[in-house]
Subunit: 204 residues, 2 copies
DNA sequence: AATTCATTAACCGCTACGGTCAAAAGAATT
DNA sequence: AATTCTTTTGACCGTAGCGGTTAATGAATT
């Protein structure tokens, strides 16, 4: 695997993205090295040259994504936005930026959760315990309920925002709209909600 | 295929669900009859006895789901709710009820969209042209903009609701929460939005 | 008991998988 | 330009397992 790590970063990204994409789409067993190689635009033999075996590649990806997730959560902790809506937006921005750099990662991480092939099942638990979902951590942490208008249930607002965010993230998986456009739209929507759900006096 | 159609409905449902689930998860080529048979709790040979070939089974499912979709859209047309929010709720209810009866159908339909195996590619266009997405039809049809408060952009509201709905539907795919609970929560959220985004005089 | 029909285990030919390797194709060095 | 060294691949191997068939099993019907 040293061979692979000696490659220029850009090349590593291409290959890792191809592998994550294929593994994520069909799971460990049905993810064929030939598919991954084709997606990366290299020969099958070269993949084996870099990683030695399919299992090694898979485990490398788990470790790799785990590190990125951990670093992201860390980064999130540093931006201590006070306001509830701001937190949501920050979390979404972070996740979108990750998905921008590693477009296939979300699908890969999701697939790990369901993977049950005995060849790799045991090694998976490790990552799962570490890489908690970013959004939930943010959304569920101390909401300042007093800011909401009377009659507005904060739990429902959280639910709307979480599901809305999931919907936005989901739509990103396929299509071709730019990150910036999505993020702008997202911010506007969140603003609209804040403007109409917060009491007047808390609108900045 | 007459053999299959002669089966009790419940049995047909089990087998169709298993097939949709596997096809939907991994696509036509990597969906093995042995996997489908195992998921349905029957032998591989029996699947061939019912359908003759993998392709026949696949095409049958496309036709089958197409009919259900068409019937649903029809049913939707009959419930002419006047109000925008009500329309959203009605559409979501309809889709949830379909997903309740045919849990694997959403995934299967989604997968059809990306299917590019030459063995079945041509036959797929047929369904795609017919089975337009239910939500969009509803959401984008004549919105009564005048009801919204000043400063509330209806496009953003539609976006929030569509993405929120997608998020709700997506969460349904995995977990075990009951349809009713989801639907109740969903209605509450939509109500909350209406109560805060409509002008006072339109809140019934 | 003979007939019919649903169901399957065992099988067949063949595709294509994971993995190897010798050699082609480039770079770098002399 | 010849030589060495590294990167990359086409062709190959053994084998797992695919789509599909068939003979046999068993339950029900007459």
């Amino acid at each position: 695997m040293e061979k692979f790590l000696a490659l220029p970063q850009e090349r590593q990204d291409i290959i890792a993205a191809a592998a994550m994409s294929v593994f994520g789409a069909v799971g460990y067993k049905k993810a064929y090295i030939s598919d991954i190689a084709a997606a990366a635009g290299i020969s099958k033999a070269l993949v084996f040259h870099y990683f030695g075996s399919k299992k090694t590649l898979y485990l490398y990806l788990i470790e790799y994504t785990g590190k990125i997730m951990a670093a992201s959560v860390q980064e999130q902790r540093n931006t201590e936005s006070a306001d509830f809506f701001e937190k949501i937006v920050e979390a979404a921005k972070l996740k979108l930026s990750i998905m921008n750099r590693y477009p296939a990662m979300a699908g890969f991480l999701a697939s790990i959760y369901y993977e049950d092939d005995p060849a790799v099942a045991s090694e998976i638990q490790e990552l799962l315990s570490k890489g908690e979902d970013v959004r939930m951590q943010i959304a569920l942490s101390g909401t300042d309920e007093s800011k909401f208008k009377d009659g507005v249930d904060p739990k429902l607002v959280i639910n709307i925002l979480v599901k809305f965010t999931e919907g936005v993230m989901g739509s990103r998986l396929d299509n071709l709209v730019s990150i910036d456009a999505i993020m702008l739209e997202f911010s506007q929507c969140v603003d609209l909600l804040r403007n109409n759900l917060y009491k007047e006096e808390f609108l900045k």
